[in-house]
Each structure stands twice: as C-alpha cells, then as structure tokens.
Symmetry: C2
Subunit: 330 residues, 2 copies
C-alpha cells in the first residue's frame, strides 16, 4: 500500500521536481480547487522557471486532441533547428499536457478517458498529461490555468502543450496563458461568423487547417489569407495543413512552432508577452479578491441594514455603498 | 430659442415632476451616462415612489414592440377591476415606456425610429417613451435600468412598461427590474434549447404566445404547460395568445397583468420582490465600486512595481495583491 502523498506544498514541490508524478498531480488538484491551498502552491510556482507553453485552441471536433497527441511525439524529438542552420535539435527532456475544457463540469479523469490518442503517450515517463475542468465558475479557471502551467514549470517540465476548447472569451483568456497559440480550424470554416473569426485572428500565432483530407482546404486558406491581409504585424501567422488522424503535417507544424519561438526570443517579444501576461494575472487576482470582498460585505448585518433603509426609501445604493465600503475614491 | 435645460439634478427632478419632458429626458441621459451625474440623479430617485413596472422580454422578432404599443393603449384605460368585483378601473394618468436593447450600441433616438407602432402614442402627453442602449458595458446597463425606472417613478409616472430583447443573462437581470414579467414567445418556440426554456421559465410571471395567427400555437401552449407542470408555485403563470399586429388579445393580456399585480399585493410578494431587488441593486453598486477600485489600483505605480517583481520571480500574484490591497481577509 502506498502512503498518501503529503499535503505540505513545499514537500510536494520537492517531490514533483524529483519526478514524482503523484506529488505533481496533487499540486495541480490543489491549484484547481482554489482557496488557500491553491495560493500556497502558486506562491512557490511563481518563483520558478516558466515552461515554454504552446496553446492549441479551436472549436469542438476540430481534432485538437489528436493534434496535441501528435505534437507530444514531435516535441520529444527536441526543438527543431532553424532552416539552414547547423547543429542538433535542442533537447526537450519532458513534455507536459494540460487539456482544458471550460464547458465541462467533469474532473480530469473522466475527460481523459476520451483522449484515446493521448493514451499512446500515457506510459511514457517523460510525458505528463492532465485534464482541467471547471470546478466552479469560469473565472476560477482563468486563474487556475496559468497557475497550473507554472506548477508544471516548477516541476521541471520545460514544455507545456495547453489544449483548450474554443468558447469565446474563455478561449481568449486561456490562449493568453500560452507563448505560441495555435488556432485549429477545419475546412469549411469560412462559414463562421465574422465575430468568431475576428476573435481567433486576434489570438492566433499559427493557423492549422486540420482534417485537410476533406474538401474545402483551399477556400479556408484563401479566407484566412484575406483576413490576415487586413492587419499589419511583424509576425504574419503561417497557415499549415494537417491530417492529424493520419499523422500528416505534424512535423511541419512543430517546425513552425519552433520558428515562432525563435521569433519571440530574437525580437524580445517573448519577454514583453510574459510581462504583460503576469500583469493580467495580477489584475485577475485583484479582481477575484474584490469579488470575494463583495460577497463578504453582502453577507453582513450592515448590508442587511442598508438594504432595509433602501426599502424604506431613506437612502440610495450609492450612499449605502459609501457607508459599507468607505467614501468612493471616484 | 429654448434655453438649455438646467443640469442641476434637483431642479431637473422638480421640472420632471411638474410634467417637463425635456427635464425628464435629460435626467435619463444622466443615468444612462453613468458616473457622478448618474449617482446624483439616483440619490433623488431612490427616495421617491416606485412605479409599477411591467417587463416584456423575448427573442428578437417576437413582436415585443407592437405588443408594448398595444399595452400602452390598454394601460391608459386604467387598472382592470378583478373579475366579479364592482367598481371602476383604477386610473393610470401616465404611462412610461423604456425600450432596452442590450445588443445595440445605438443611442435612444435611433432605435425609436424603428418603433413605428409606438409612434401612435408619441403625441399623447400622458405617454413618455424612451429607448436605452448600451453606452458602455452590459454591467453598466444592469445598473442604469433600475435607476431609470426609479427616475420615471420620481417624475410621477405610476406605470412603466420595460421592453427588453431576450439575450441570456442580461434578460434575467433586466427582468429583475420588473414587478410583472411577461415573456413573449411565438409559435414554434418548442424547438428552442432546454437551457433557453429554463431561463425563461424562471423569470416569467405571464407567457404570451404572440403572432397567434400562425400555426403551432397549440404545440407551444402544450410545451409550456408541460414545463410549468414540473414546478410548484403559488402563482402559476397563465399562457395567453395575442396577435399584436391585429390588436387581438391585448385587453385580455392587460387583465392578466392586473391579476398578477393583485396577487403580488395581496400575498405580500410585491414587497418581498422589491426588497430583494433593492438588495441586488445594492450588491451591483458594490461590485461596480470594486471593479473601479481594481482599475484604479492597476493604473498605479505600485501595481507596475509588483508586476515587475513578478517578472523577476521575486513574488507571486497573491502576495502582491496583499501588498496592493492589504491582507486578504479570506
């Protein structure tokens, strides 16, 4: 019988850094659960090295899981050398995978059952796969995902693949946790609404037209090219085609990810992005604190008294707020 | 040349209470615009009598505007007497209409141009019609609508018809500002998703199947009856049929609104609802205050310094939040 893993964050982090998968899984559960335990884990993780994070996002059914599974294999071969450059690939000794489904109330294990392709890697000790689902509200997940990515980094995993189902704002939030964001489409995507398209253009560093054995690839590529032509930027997102089911195009995709990583590093954009991301994360923590403060105040006797004064028309909500929170700084 | 209306809230409110429509319009613009001016107006309005508010909500194209226009005419005849009771209708000397479109970035005037049927009442001095649209974010509208309803009450309008386009949470929020909520459907509604149906069931005090000259009325009525059968409540929402275009069923609908109003008053439910609504409004004001506080802190030098410390991995967002906001009360 194995002893239960310790609950002390320091001891767990030590264990995870030495390769202990049970300790790592426990840390991620603590992050997912929120509250003081999540906070204690984050306190350690934010002081450790950040993994290079590749986000994959797209609509349900686009084939993200299969593509992610393919990328695990490619990543195990190391970072590709630049075209025309000499030398060997930069090794990647471990790969972490976080599969996030904001729409699912299920916890990790249940989701993973579906991810058949990923099971190919389930016995590889250099690969760590974990699903995250909404325990509470969506906002909680927006906080938990960056924390979880950092825990993987603190545990010594240099690369994390972050797979998320594309569902509006959440997709943008979670994509914000990645260094390179891959938007996965399928042929026929041209029929999507303009708003959906605009949101994806904003977050995409690379486009992948998956299921490229189906008809409509050329039209989708043309649509994307047209939309990209409307914006000016230093990095123009390349458009790749894959058939992840048949393992076609995966290596080319990984080369493109490597190109983007090199672009980010050489231009200083990686540091700028990460700094901006940390400011966003800090802002989210402040907002979550404030939301809890509202809950706390609203549960108190003073709030009930002010609500009573409102009923009797002796006050208005703004004066009541001043008394409950102190004068409005404006 | 008319002089510009005064901007002093007290003077405007006096003018509005004496029937000055320009003063009333100006007060509503101040509420819509948010900020200190909205607050100054709300301070007065929350101390005045509350109008009886009838909300109409439903999907775009359900015919809410035509129905609202019909109800204006019915309301001008006064509150209907209870079935079997003697006496005359309780008079309603003025009717206010707020048409809220959360999805439109247009300001009042533009929207009203479309509301042809309402133009029938545009020259009636006892009717005041106003559109509200999102000036800023949706949350702002959730604050502004109850404030606007109260301004109409403070100006002496005893009845307000509040028309909103049904768009998820916003619909529920705005419906929360009404005493009686009428959910407007059309034949064929049975094909909607269960989630959409459940949301409407939650807010509906009355159901109206409008465009009842079209096929599918019986099926929609059966669907509704089935769903209503699943819940137990003191007030079972009646299901009415109207053809607002042909002015059919409007008087019956107004009688049903009057029945619900009487039910609320007799059971004490009106007071309970209004008290609960005021608590919700106070909570929203607290949340808006806190959100502004996050904006203020995030714009400051201390925030920038903490974000810099995060980049250098010298801290974590939770410790940083403690320094920026004071210790976390938990």
């Amino acid at each position: 019988v194995n002893p239960a893993p310790p609950r002390d964050p320091d001891a767990l982090m030590d264990g995870a850094a030495r390769g202990g998968r049970a300790a790592l899984a426990r840390l991620l559960s603590m992050v997912e659960g929120g509250g003081p335990a999540a906070r204690a884990v984050a306190r350690l993780a934010y002081r450790a090295a950040v993994p290079y994070t590749v986000g994959l996002t797209g609509a349900p059914g686009a084939g993200k899981s299969t593509l992610t599974a393919g990328l695990i294999g490619a990543a195990r071969g190391g970072w590709p050398v630049a075209e025309g450059a000499d030398g060997d690939p930069e090794p990647i000794d471990q790969v972490g995978v976080l599969a996030v489904d904001p729409s699912s109330p299920l916890s990790g294990g249940a989701l993973l059952g579906d991810r058949v392709r990923m099971q190919d890697h389930a016995t590889d000790p250099a690969v760590f796969i974990r699903s995250m689902a909404t325990r509470g509200h969506l906002g909680g997940l927006a906080l938990a995902v960056p924390d979880a990515v950092r825990v993987l980094g603190a545990a010594g995993l240099p690369v994390v693949l972050l797979e998320t189902v594309g569902v509006g704002q959440m997709e943008v939030d979670v994509a914000g946790a990645a260094d390179t964001t891959v938007v996965v489409l399928t042929p026929g995507w041209g029929d999507s609404t303009q708003a959906a398209k605009a949101g994806l253009l904003e977050v995409a560093d690379l486009f992948v037209i998956n299921k490229a054995d189906r008809p409509g690839v050329a039209e989708t590529r043309r649509d994307l090219t047209e939309m990209l032509g409307l914006t000016e930027r230093a990095w123009v997102p390349p458009i790749l085609s894959t058939s992840a089911d048949r393992a076609e195009g995966i290596d080319e995709l990984w080369v493109a990810v490597g190109d983007h990583r090199r672009f980010l590093a050489e231009t200083g954009e990686l540091d700028r992005r990460r700094a901006s991301r940390l400011a966003t994360e800090l802002r989210r923590v402040l907002a979550a604190r404030m939301a809890r403060e509202v809950d706390r105040v609203a549960a108190g006797a003073a709030f009930a008294a002010e609500a009573g004064a409102l009923v009797e028309r002796r006050t208005d909500p703004y004066d009541a707020a001043d008394r409950l929170l102190g004068p409005d700084p404006g």
